[in-house]
Amino acid sequence: MLTLDRNLLHRFGLLLVILFVGLALSLLTDTFLSVANFTNVARQISINGILAVGVTFVLLTAGVDLSLGSVVALSGVACATFAHPGDHSVFVPIAVGLLTGAACGLVNGTLVTLGGVAPFIVTLGMMTIARGLALIFSGGRPVADMSNELTALAGDLFGIPIPVLCFAGVAAAAWFFLRNFRLGRHIYAVGGNENAARAAGVPVEKVKLLAYGLCGLLTGLAGVVLAARITTGQPNAGQAYELDAIAAVVIGGTSLAGGVGTITGTLLGVLLIGVINNGLDLMGVSSYYQAVIKGVIIVGAVWLDRRQARS
C-alpha cells in the first residue's frame, strides 16, 4: 500500500501544479478556458508528447537519448522526399520516416550495448550525424511540395486533430506495453540494477536495444507528424526538442538514474510544459521573460513534487 500511496501522491502533486497553473491562466486571460484553446494545446503538445513517450523507455533503462531533435529533422526530410504528389502511395513516405527513426534508434542501441559506449556519447554523436545527414539529403534546403494526402495527417479526424490521436495512441500502447509485456517489466529491471537483472536471466542487451529502437521509431513518427504539420521536411527543424522531451519525462517523475517512472507521469509532464508555453503566449509575455518563467515553473514543479513525495 505504501508504494501505491506514494505513486498516487506523486501524480497528485504534479496534477495540483498543473491545475494551479491552469486556474491562474483562466483568471489572467479570458481565452485559456475554451474548447478551441484546449484542442490547440493538445495539438501543440502532441509532437513533444510522442518524443517524451519514446525517450521514457530509454530513460527507464538508465540511458539517455540526445539525438531526438536531429532524428526528427532527418525523418521529416526522408518522409518529405518520398511524399511528392503522385510519386508514391501515402504509406511509403510514412514508412520511410518511421524506419529512418527506428534505424537511428537501433544504431544508438547497438553502440550502447555491443560497443559499450556511454549513451550520452553515442547519442551526442547521433545528434550531429543525423543533423548532417538531414542537410546532405535535402541539400540544405527545406523539402517542399508534399502531397495533400500526407499533409492531411496534420488535419482532423472526427473533429480531433490527427497528431493528437497519434499521441494518444502511442501513449496508450506504451502504457500497456510497460505494464503487461514481459519486456516492459524487463525495462524496469535493467534500469533498476543492470547487473542484478543480468544475473536474474534478463536479456539485458536485447532489452536496451528494444528501448532505443522504440524511442527511434517514435522519433520517426514525430518527424513525420511535424513534416505534415509544417508541410515541408526541414533539415534544421527540431532544434533542442530532446531537452523539452527529457524535461517532460523527468517532471513526470522518471528517474534519470533509471528503473523508476511511468507513462502517466510523462503525460502530465508533457501537459505542464504545453500549458505553460500556451499560457505565456496567450498572456503576451515577452520572449525574454517567457524563457525565465518557463524555467522557474519547471524547476519549481519538480521541487514541489519531490518534496511532497518525500514527506
Partner: protein, 491 residues
C-alpha cells in the same frame, strides 16, 4: 560516557525502535544483540547522526548532543562502520581511508606522501597488507570491509560503532580486528558492536544489551550470560539445534565439472554434485570460490573446462543459459547482483521465472500475483505488500526473497553463495531447513560458505580451494574444522 535516553524512531508509521535507554562506557566493548529488525542498526544510526530520533535524546560527555548529520557526530568523536559498505569505487584505498580528513600541505593541496603513509599505518594496525594505491573496486568484499574499518580507526574517535564488521572477514582477518579492538579499548575508546556470531560476542564484549522487536530486553555483563541464555533473550524462546539432520544423498551425478580454468582466478577445478547432495566449496577469502560458482552460473564464464549437467555437456555463456538448463543461483553480492531495489518484492521474486506466468509476450498478472503470494508465504518474507519496494526490507527478508526468486523456476541445481551472511539466527535456521528440504527433494546444492560449522553440518562433501586450485575433497561426516582449515591455508 555516551548515553541513549529514551530514543525512539518511526518509519512511516511503523515503530522500529520503542523508547530505549542504554549507557555506553569509555574503554568498554558493548555488544548489541538481537535478530534482524530488532532495532540495533537503527539505534546505531541515531547515535552516529544518520537518523534523527522521533523521541528521546543522545547525551555525550554529560551534555545533550544534537547530531544533524554524520559529520556532526564525527566532529564530536563518534565514528561508525556500516554494515552495507559505502566505498567510493574509483578512488584508491588511501583516498578512501582519508576521505574527509585528507592531510593537507600549504595552499590546501592534498599531501600525497602523508596520505599514503597514514593509510599504510592504519592498515598495518589491522595487520593487513592491502596496497594503499590500489583502486577500491579491485578489492574483494572482505578487503573492502578492512578498509572501512581502517577509515573509522583513522578518525581518532572516542566511540566507534561497528555494525557487523566481521560479516565478510576471514578468520585471520577477524583475529587481527580483535587485536586492534583490544588496543583501542586499552586507549579508552568505547566500542559498540553488533554481530550474529555467538563466539565473537563472548570473546569480545564486556557488556551485552539485547534488543527484540525494537525494545530493550536487558543489559548485562558478558560474564553473567552464556550462549543459551543469550539466544533465549534474543528470540524470546528456547532454540533447539539450528542444524537439521542430514540425509544420505543419491549416487546419480547431476553436475560434473572438469578442468575449469580462468587464470589467474582459478585453474583445473574438477568436482561433481549428485542429486540430493549438498557440496560445499570451502576456502579462505580470495581462494576463488565465488569465481568458480559464477562460471557455472554463466556470470563470468571460464576460459577452459567442461560442465556436464544431467549427462549433457553445456556451454553456459550467460545466466540465461544456466537458468534455461535448470541451474539457479543466489549470489553473495545481494545489493550488486541480486536486488532490483525500486520495484516491489513480488516483482523481484517473479523476475527470473516471469515466462512461466505469461501468455506469449504478455504477463498474466493474476498468475504472477498468485505465485509471488505463494512464494512470500512459503519463504516467510515479511513485507507490507508484494508491491513494497524490496529496498525497504531487512537483510534477512531480502535474502529470503532472492531465494524465493531462485527457486520459483524450479532449478535442479541450486548454487548458494554465502546464503547466511549478515542475517540473524532465526533466518539462518530457516535457510538451513530449506537446504535440507531441497536436498531431500532430489535437488543438488552447491554451497559456498565461510562459516565452517555451517559447512560441516550441512554438506555431504567439502571441496576445499586454495589459491584457485582444489586442495582436497573431504567427506563432511569424517572431517573436522582443523582439517578443512589446514587444506585451506596457504602453505
Amino acid at each position: 560516557m555516551l548515553r541513549a535516553l529514551e530514543l525512539s524512531k518511526d518509519f512511516g508509521g511503523l515503530t522500529v525502535l520503542h523508547p530505549t535507554s542504554i549507557d555506553f562506557h569509555l574503554g568498554e566493548v558493548h555488544a548489541l544483540m538481537g535478530e534482524n529488525g530488532a532495532g540495533k542498526s537503527t539505534l546505531m544510526k541515531i547515535l552516529a547522526g544518520l537518523y534523527r530520533p522521533n523521541g528521546g535524546q543522545v547525551e555525550w560527555r554529560e551534555r545533550q548532543a544534537e547530531f544533524t548529520s554524520p559529520h556532526d557526530a564525527l566532529v564530536a568523536g563518534i565514528a561508525m562502520i556500516h554494515q552495507e559498505l559505502m566505498p567510493i569505487p574509483d578512488l584508491t584505498v588511501a583516498e578512501n581511508i582519508t576521505l574527509g580528513s585528507e592531510p593537507c600541505s600549504a595552499f590546501g593541496l592534498i599531501d600525497r606522501p602523508a596520505q599514503l603513509a597514514r593509510a599504510k599505518e592504519l592498515l598495518s594496525e589491522l595487520e593487513s597488507d592491502i596496497g594503499p594505491t590500489r583502486l577500491m573496486h579491485t578489492l574483494t568484499v572482505a578487503q573492502t570491509q578492512v578498509v572501512e574499518i581502517a577509515k573509522a580507526l583513522g578518525r581518532q574517535a572516542d566511540v566507534i560503532l561497528m555494525d557487523e564488521p566481521t560479516a565478510a572477514l576471514s578468520d585471520h582477518e577477524i583475529a587481527a580486528l580483535f587485536r586492534a579492538i583490544a588496543r583501542l579499548k586499552a586507549r579508552g575508546v568505547a566500542i559498540v558492536y553488533t554481530t550474529h556470531k555467538m563466539d565473537e560476542v563472548f570473546r569480545l564484549a564486556d557488556r551485552i544489551s539485547v534488543l527484540r522487536d525494537g525494545r530493550l530486553v536487558g543489559t548485562a555483563p558478558a560474564s553473567e550470560l552464556n550462549p543459551a541464555k543469550l539466544i533465549t533473550m534474543m528470540v524470546g524462546r528456547e532454540l533447539a539445534d539450528v542444524f537439521p539432520v542430514r540425509l544420505p544423498s543419491s549416487n546419480e551425478v547431476l553436475l560434473e565439472v572438469t578442468g575449469l580454468t580462468r587464470e589467474p582466478a582459478y585453474r583445473d577445478i574438477s568436482f561433481h554434485v549428485c542429486r540430493g547432495e549438498v557440496v560445499a566449496l570451502a576456502g579462505l577469502m580470495g581462494a576463488g570460490r565465488t569465481e568458480v560458482v559464477s562460471a557455472i552460473y554463466g556470470l563470468q564464464p571460464a576460459s577452459e573446462g567442461r560442465i556436464i549437467f544431467n549427462g549433457t555437456p553445456l556451454a553456459i555463456g550467460s545466466p540465461q543459459d544456466a537458468l534455461a538448463a535448470g541451474i539457479g543461483m543466489v549470489t553473495e553480492d545481494r545489493k550488486g547482483l541480486g536486488l532490483i531495489p525500486a520495484i516491489g518484492v513480488g516483482q523481484n521474486i517473479t523476475l527470473s521465472a516471469l515466462r512461466d506466468f505469461s501468455r506469449g509476450p504478455l504477463i498474466d498478472h493474476t498468475a504472477e500475483a498468485a505465485a509471488s503470494h505463494t512464494q512470500m508465504t512459503e519463504f516467510s518474507v515479511k513485507a507490507n505488500s508484494p508491491s513494497q519496494p524490496i529496498a525497504q526490507l531487512s537483510g534477512g527478508n531480502q535474502q529470503k526473497a532472492l531465494l524465493a526468486r531462485c527457486l520459483l523456476g524450479g532449478p535442479e541445481l541450486i548454487i548458494l553463495d554465502e546464503p547466511t551472511r549478515g542475517i540473524d539466527i532465526g533466518a539462518k535456521a530457516e535457510i538451513y531447513a530449506l537446504i535440507q528440504k531441497l536436498a531431500r527433494a532430489g535437488k543438488g546444492i552447491l554451497l559456498v560458505s565461510s562459516e565452517l560449522p555451517e559447512v560441516l553440518s550441512l554438506a555431504h562433501r567439502i571441496v576445499v580451494l586454495r589459491r584457485g586450485s582444489v586442495s582436497a575433497t573431504l567427506d563432511a561426516a569424517t572431517t573436522d574444522q582443523e582439517t578443512v582449515l589446514r587444506h585451506a591455508m596457504p602453505l
